[in-house]
């Protein structure tokens, strides 16, 4: 990259060739106004407000689209420039209404700011401003164009940021510009709404008040608000947010652009999800069961009850009589303190966060050794591959903002997206999706590897695979012929060949797995098969490596990092390695083996565990066996539930503790990259709620162990040196990029090709449809998003997704009631056709309180099968 020198406003500036004048100016703190330009969008040079004067150039030039060159002499504020800008402003104000007093953009409006700075003192235009009349009786001309978005076309200055963003960045199709010239207007396509998962961004990026959202409009003036830094914790992407508050209430959250993580875009769940904080369902007081009923009580009463039980159970059963189940949306501070309390104060290592899987909670040791369990990939690394192979994931709903990076790679380096999924996913519109018969992933992936080997599309030198290994691999996998696998998976032989060739041809492919793989009955084997494929195609070279196994749960990675498994301590150290960690409390950690979720539940059955804490988790609706979890938890002598709401689990608890959300305390989260990012306290705890770290600090104090934490920040400061290796690091000195904690063992390419096998799942033969669950539109997880009024505007009712053909065979139409049942339970719900769904699959979004799919699940049965009956 070559260096250039140019002069801006008499100041000599060194810049890099290829930068625009605007880039150089902004980098050097020289103000040039912009409307249509945005760093994340292609430059269009349309608004003309960024005009500058360049010596020896006859015309003024738009700085956003003019490259800075060596020796250039630029003026950004000469009389000519100012006059031209005033001209542009005058043109814009010809139609732009001066309704700032009633406009929600007022106070943060780029147009208002530019007019303020360059405006002329009198208007020369006398023509009535053009209106796009919505309702003759009103002068407001507000038109709802989506569940959340309101358009006021009169205010639009035609920068087209909204439509460009929707098309370029989101690859969505629900907003466009219509007509031309001064009557150009922004609208969704005929008969539709703007309701894509990223739709809220168009409001944030609109430089005027032409697009506003129901969530924020007419609620509070922006200059009255306070802003706090927070981190989204609905999915493991970890987008940076600003929370805007007024009088201890959150009014909105917006993107706090962090190019390493979110690129300045957030999804609607992150934008509107905060509404769960102030929802009237929030628990306002601790509760204790008296005479069979949960009644409100004081913290002292509830703490006394817990301590009393804790002591007696410990005496009776030993420390292992106490266990804890934790949810995956708590903060690192919560995990750290819960772990510290349970392990060093109570003396029990029985703790787990893994409540979604039925069996084999841990990755096998073999797999751990291959080094593909964690990841060293960063979100940034997703910009460089030229092929993404997504296996078993609706990435769009599971990791919405990471998904945008794939689209960015597609845009910038023609990357291709291939999706191999059991159910159709939203990203299929941006790539090619192959829908396979459920549970044939291992065969499929291995078959692709075989095709590549047989067609000699691999590089023996670079991959280090010799003929003997290859020969053995082919022999070992000779069941996975293209014919057999095509029959088993339902994907045609031609498609398999095409897919294999595509993968082989890619310069750099990344394989991404998601929800379906993380819940897969043979998760390890799917990943092993992927290891082979990635090895054969030489995509495990260098660092980062080519397999990204994404998991469910927003702070799942924090659970790993802070030892929310029986055998692991903070920074993922094994319990027997505790001495390697230099923290006082760790020396007091029990050496006794703890129980994982499966064992905890069994021990409850066997009365070996009588007290369980359930913190921020609702196993009754989420554990994949409703009958079992209910009967088990009710066997407990004492169930302590700490949560935001009176969840189904809380309803059967002995005591219920009102938990504060992450908005009500300070702390940190760890995103899927292993990036620990801090968040500030945004509002005071709701009612009497307390954050989990505080509850366990309080409990410890009552057992005469003083943790001494007064804030989440204090907790962070204790573990910060541990995770960063920097003894000076504290909450105040964490860099904007966070702290990256690599968790993965290096990839072990020399392990060579791994044996793979298939094993038919244990399934219930009596029923004909496979049950698969996922996220509904604009929802993720249970309990929180359904308590956001805005998100419920997109989807608030549960449904049962069927292929049109399956529905028709059962004489069911869209909207009819259907009973989904098996030996374990039943659900009655409305039918919705899902395009592209296999005929043998029933798909249920598992977010809504009315139904929970786990009533149809049994922990002994690997594949959930159901029958359908018309109601």
């Amino acid at each position: 990259m070559s260096e250039i020198k140019l002069t801006i406003n008499g100041r000599e500036i060194v810049a890099t060739k290829g930068m625009t004048i605007l880039d150089v100016a902004l980098e050097n703190g020289i103000d040039i106004p912009t409307f249509c330009w945005h760093p994340k969008l292609k430059t269009v040079g349309a608004c003309r407000i960024c005009l500058v004067e360049i010596e020896k150039w006859p015309k003024l030039q738009v700085s956003c689209a003019t490259d800075a060159t060596d020796g250039m002499v630029v003026f950004t504020n000469s009389d000519r420039v100012v006059k031209a800008r005033q001209g542009v402003i005058e043109f814009i104000l010809l139609n732009h209404p001066l309704d700032c007093p009633t406009c929600d953009k007022g106070g943060e409006c780029p147009l208002q700011n530019v007019v303020y700075k360059y405006g002329i003192d009198r208007a020369r235009t006398i023509e009535p401003r053009q209106r796009f009349i919505v309702n003759e009786d009103s002068t407001f001309d507000d038109l709802p164009i989506g569940p959340e978005i309101i358009r006021n076309q009169n205010r639009c200055i035609h920068c087209f940021r909204c439509t460009r963003m929707v098309e370029e960045v989101f690859e969505e199709d629900d907003l466009g510009s219509y007509n031309r010239g001064h009557i150009t207007e922004i609208l969704p396509p005929p008969g539709r709404e703007i309701r894509n998962l990223y739709s809220g961004n168009v409001v944030e990026y609109c430089p005027v008040g032409a697009l506003t959202n129901r969530d924020f409009r007419y609620k509070v003036r922006v200059w009255l608000t306070e802003q706090k830094k927070t981190i989204c914790n609905f999915c493991p992407d970890g987008c940076n947010l600003t929370a805007w508050t007024f009088r201890d209430k959150i009014y909105r959250t917006t993107s706090r652009r962090n190019d390493r993580v979110d690129d300045g875009f957030i999804c609607d769940i992150g934008r509107y999800g905060y509404q769960f904080v102030h929802h009237p369902d929030r628990l306002t007081s601790p509760m204790i069961r008296r005479g069979g009923e949960l009644v409100e009580c004081t913290w002292d009463e509830v703490y006394d009850a817990i301590i009393c039980k804790l002591k007696s159970i410990k005496e009776k059963l030993g420390p292992e009589g106490v266990a804890s189940l934790v949810g995956e949306d708590c903060s690192n501070e919560d995990y750290y303190v819960i772990g510290k309390f349970l392990r060093s104060v109570v003396g029990s290592n029985s703790i787990d966060h893994r409540l979604h899987r039925k069996k084999k909670l841990s990755y096998g040791e073999d797999l751990e050794k291959l080094g593909i369990v964690g990841t060293n990939l960063t979100i940034d690394d997703l910009e460089s591959p030229d092929l993404f192979v997504i296996v078993g994931s609706d990435l769009h709903s599971e990791n919405p903002i990471s998904a945008l990076r794939l689209l960015k790679a597609k845009r910038n380096n023609d990357a291709r997206l291939v999706l191999i999924n059991p159910v159709p996913s939203r990203l299929s519109r941006s790539g090619t999706e192959y829908i396979h018969k459920c549970n044939t992933e291992v065969q499929l992936i291995t078959c692709l590897a075989r095709i590549i080997v047989r067609e000699k599309l691999y590089n023996a030198d670079e991959t280090g695979l010799d003929d003997r290994q290859i020969e053995k691999f082919l022999n070992d996998t000779d069941d996975f012929t293209i014919e057999n696998v095509s029959d088993a998976s339902g994907i045609s032989k031609d498609d398999l060949t095409l897919l294999a060739r595509q993968i082989a041809e890619a310069k750099r492919a990344v394989f991404i797995t998601g929800r379906h793989v993380s819940l897969h009955y043979r998760r390890d084997m799917v990943l092993t098969a992927l290891f082979n494929l990635a090895l054969i195609t030489n995509n495990l070279r260098g660092d980062p490596k080519g397999i990204l196994a994404l998991r469910i749960g927003s702070n799942n990675r924090g659970c790993y990092l802070f030892g929310m498994r029986p055998d692991r301590l903070p920074i993922n150290r094994r319990v027997d390695e505790k001495d390697s960690l230099s923290s006082d409390w760790l020396t007091g950690v029990s050496d006794r083996k703890g129980a994982d979720t499966i064992d905890i539940l069994r021990q409850i059955e066997e009365s070996k565990v009588e007290l369980t804490f359930a913190v921020g988790t609702d196993p009754v609706t989420s554990y994949p066996d409703y009958n079992y979890i209910c009967s088990t938890l009710t066997k407990l002598d004492f169930l302590v539930v700490a949560d935001l709401y009176l969840t189904e689990t809380a309803k059967i608890a002995d005591v219920v503790l009102p938990l504060s959300s992450c908005m009500e305390t300070s702390g940190s989260f760890c995103n899927w990259e292993g990036r620990v990012q801090i968040f500030e306290q945004v509002v005071n705890p709701i009612s009497l709620s307390r954050p989990a770290w505080q509850i366990f600090t309080d409990l410890a104090a009552r057992l005469e162990v003083e943790f001494g934490y007064k804030s989440g920040e204090d907790v962070f400061n204790e573990f910060a040196p541990m995770i960063s290796g920097d003894t000076k690091l504290n909450f105040r000195t964490v860099p904007e990029s966070g702290i990256c904690v690599p968790s993965a063992t290096p990839v072990n390419r020399s392990a060579g090709l791994q044996p793979v096998s298939v094993r038919a799942p244990e399934l219930d033969q009596k029923h004909e449809y496979v049950l698969i669950t996922g996220n509904g539109d604009h929802h993720i997880g249970r309990n929180r998003t359904t308590r956001s009024e805005s998100l419920n505007r997109f989807q608030s009712e549960p449904y049962v997704g069927l292929s049109e053909r399956t529905a028709n065979e059962l004489a069911l139409s869209d909207g009819d009631l259907v009973k989904v049942e098996n030996d374990f339970g039943k659900i009655v719900c409305v039918v919705k056709y899902i395009d592209g769904l296999r005929d043998d699959v029933v798909w249920i979004p598992d977010n809504f309180p009315e139904i929970s799919a786990n009533v149809l699940k049994n922990r002994e049965i690997e594949i959930d099968m159901v029958s359908l009956v018309k109601v």
């Binding site: 199709d173 466009g176 510009s177 219509y178 031309r180 396509p189 005929p190």
Partner: protein
């Protein structure tokens, strides 16, 4: 379905011509206009289905181009040029004459559904002004007698 088999066939035939599918939008809109005499939202949806393109792209493009009426018009869509060269040779009186003779205002359709009169910008036939276009055909060097004759002929055709 609004578009008939022939139109659909013709639209599909444009696909192999272009390196990118989106280029088929204007040809498709033109074919739809020739069949129906106007365009509407349902047609945009049909075209986007036929071409496997986004409806928003089809609708947005259609709205930009003013040659296609976006609501039903008469069987004979009379587009009179009112730009400078035609205006200098009496386009305004031609428009008045047509409106009066057909008993409609600009943009309106005659009760028998035969004629709609609109003004359009330069048709690119300035040396033979005044000019009008009826459906796909140009009528040039117009005089009162010519217009009478044209309308009479079209009426006869029904």
């Amino acid at each position: 379905m609004i578009l008939n088999d022939e139109t659909v066939k013709k639209i599909k035939a444009t696909v192999p011509i272009y390196p990118q599918r989106r280029s088929c939008i204007l040809p498709a809109l033109t074919l739809a206009y020739w069949q129906e005499g106007h365009l509407n939202d349902d047609i945009y949806r049909e075209i986007s289905d036929i071409l496997d393109l986004k409806t928003v792209d089809v609708a947005s493009a259609a709205s930009f181009y003013t040659m296609f009426p976006k609501a039903p018009v008469g069987k004979y869509y009379i587009q009179v040029c009112h730009n400078i060269s035609c205006a200098l040779l009496g386009a305004d009186s031609l428009i008045d004459y047509l409106a009066q003779k057909l008993g409609v205002k600009l943009g309106e359709t005659t009760e028998d559904g035969l004629f709609t009169v609109v003004t359009v910008e330069c048709l690119g036939s300035c040396t033979t002004a005044p000019v009008m276009q009826i459906n796909n055909d140009y009528y040039e060097n117009l005089t009162r007698e010519k217009v009478d004759q044209i309308l009479e002929d079209l009426r006869k055709q029904g």
